[in-house]
Symmetry: C2
């Protein structure tokens, strides 16, 4: 490990993973944080509370399909939903750079308001700090959230099991490519928009089909490949993905080709991947397709006992290859 | 209001208050956030959960008596304690600037670990983002926290009542002056250290004396004067403070004189001010003085029905003046 923080430490890839593992192991270890799920699940009184936090540093702060405000609300709502929790409250921590236009702050807060209403989760508290010019980049937002975990659920990225079907809720790469289309020096013309959306309603529909969802994650930083690798490692199982079953929009595919990016590593902000017993998969996909944010749901693969800890991809052209964990930095400040 | 964010919007004074009020009123209003207490209190299942967030941007990140890590833990523990909650879990959101020394990150996380152990509150989840050089200032930390509010408590800065005694848990201004003593361009020699400390144990001792604490706050940004003004306004009562009863260390007093600062507006990070029925005040002070962080507790004033919304100061020299709400920026990035 170098002795300085680099952008790769924030990418969601191998450098991020190693830094976080090292810091958690050395300084923060306890039974709850050790699970490294999207939310911590805590026994409180007679029930279980999910608790999560995320800071948003996305650049640019306004992008096709959303902005840092709606992204911050949806991202934290989704982290709660990924452990099966019903989100009940959010907090909003703002770090503002001196010189930020108050009109931009208003626009972002209006977006927070709309996203909070759409997800049905109120903002119950907040904090505002201001730093001098050059000490931040316009605005950073932290959203933390709590939710109630229904009885009987045990959804964790450590719980995928051989025999599970892997279900993806829709097309991948939309968020990452929408952000890149507006990045100075990269920008390109496209009608693509971010998929940023709250997934708690989709998850509610899924839990009506079965409560035996084993693992669930939203593939954000590092994309689908990174999320699948983390689940394979934490659950100590192999995952096989059929490339041709993974929905990708033509605009995303074209833009990835243009920029030399592998869409499997590009961030999403309104998609989830769920691991359910294969026998439940068809009913689950059918239920998901009836929801606003799950219309393109599909089974994209399966869990096997072979090659534990690794993800293998059956390519569209008939070959097979290991889908590696991302090693370096791919897209800084994507969320 | 100007059309750009200025440092005054982060000072804790009038500009901060107006910005936050305007943004909450316009975009975030609901019954819980409207209370604007240090923590939101939510009915969850059969119990009540306190939930709070704070971002820390203190400059310098290492200072006498603490660093951004311990400050972030203590600050959020204290926000929970101020509504009478027993803190049960924290999250840690890091925003790191490219080029931060990993040795400094380690030192900060070791400090988080020690502060978490001292307060008895585990970190259960976290998030790490990295931004490029010049897009942040080394490290910003968000800590959010949840706690359990015991039955029967209703502590809120809206609940101070005429007849209450105002109790302060110790000397003021230590944190702000310790930070300033290390600020480039201001620095001065002193043996002063920040008072940053977890107050949850002190509050537990206080609740053993009486559960009828009406209001409680830790006077951080904007200092004691700002906190008292907020309580006077929210509770619609007058507050009378006896200047000679307010403990101030000689080093703090001297440094304030040197820099032309009024210690009543200087930040604290390990003090609280509590409003209790006058008849309970002596027993309360006695109990507080037996605790580690309440040894210098004292009654510093009282609540009156007169001059509702305002704080009046009986000065050490025998006069009386209104203690105004801070109008501009005093000490940016103090927490």
């Amino acid at each position: 490990m170098s002795d300085l923080i680099s952008l790769a430490h924030g990418s969601g890839g191998e450098a991020s993973k190693n830094l976080i593992k090292e810091m958690v192991d050395s300084y923060l270890m306890n039974a709850v944080i050790a699970r490294l799920d999207d939310s911590a699940v805590l026994d409180v009184g007679g029930g279980r509370i999910a608790f999560t936090t995320d800071s948003y540093v996305v650049d640019p702060i306004f992008f096709p399909g959303g902005d840092i405000g709606s992204l911050a609300v949806n991202g934290t709502v989704n982290d709660l939903a990924m452990v099966g929790a019903r989100p009940i409250a959010l907090t909003l921590g703002l770090i503002l750079e001196e010189g930020l236009r108050i009109a931009d702050l208003r626009r972002i807060l209006a977006s927070v308001k709309a996203a909070s209403a759409l997800a049905g989760v109120p903002v119950v508290g907040g904090d505002t700090k201001v730093v001098g010019r050059g000490a931040a980049d316009m605005i950073f937002i932290n959203t933390s959230g709590i939710g109630v975990v229904p009885e009987g659920l045990d959804i964790s990225s450590s719980n995928a099991m051989p025999g599970d079907a892997v279900i993806l809720s829709g097309s991948i790469g939309d968020h990452g490519m929408a952000i890149l289309s507006r990045r100075p020096g990269i920008e390109f013309e496209t009608d693509l928009v971010s998929d940023s959306a709250p997934l708690s309603g989709l998850v509610t529909s899924m839990l009506e089909v079965t409560t035996s969802i084993h693992a669930m994650r939203d593939p954000t930083r590092g994309g689908l490949a990174t999320t699948l690798n983390e689940i394979a490692q934490k659950s100590n199982v192999g995952i096989v993905v059929d490339e041709s079953a993974v929905p990708v929009k033509p605009q995303v595919s074209e833009a990835c080709d243009l920029l030399g990016l592998d869409v499997l590593y590009v961030a999403n902000e309104g998609k989830l991947v769920a691991f359910v017993p294969a026998g439940e998969a068809d009913r689950m996909v059918a239920a998901m397709r009836k929801t606003d944010y799950g219309r393109d749901s599909a089974v994209i693969g399966r869990v096997v006992a072979d090659h534990a800890g690794m993800v293998s991809l059956n390519t569209a052209v008939g070959g097979s290859r290991i889908l590696a964990h991302l090693s370096g930095e791919i897209l800084p400040r994507i969320c």
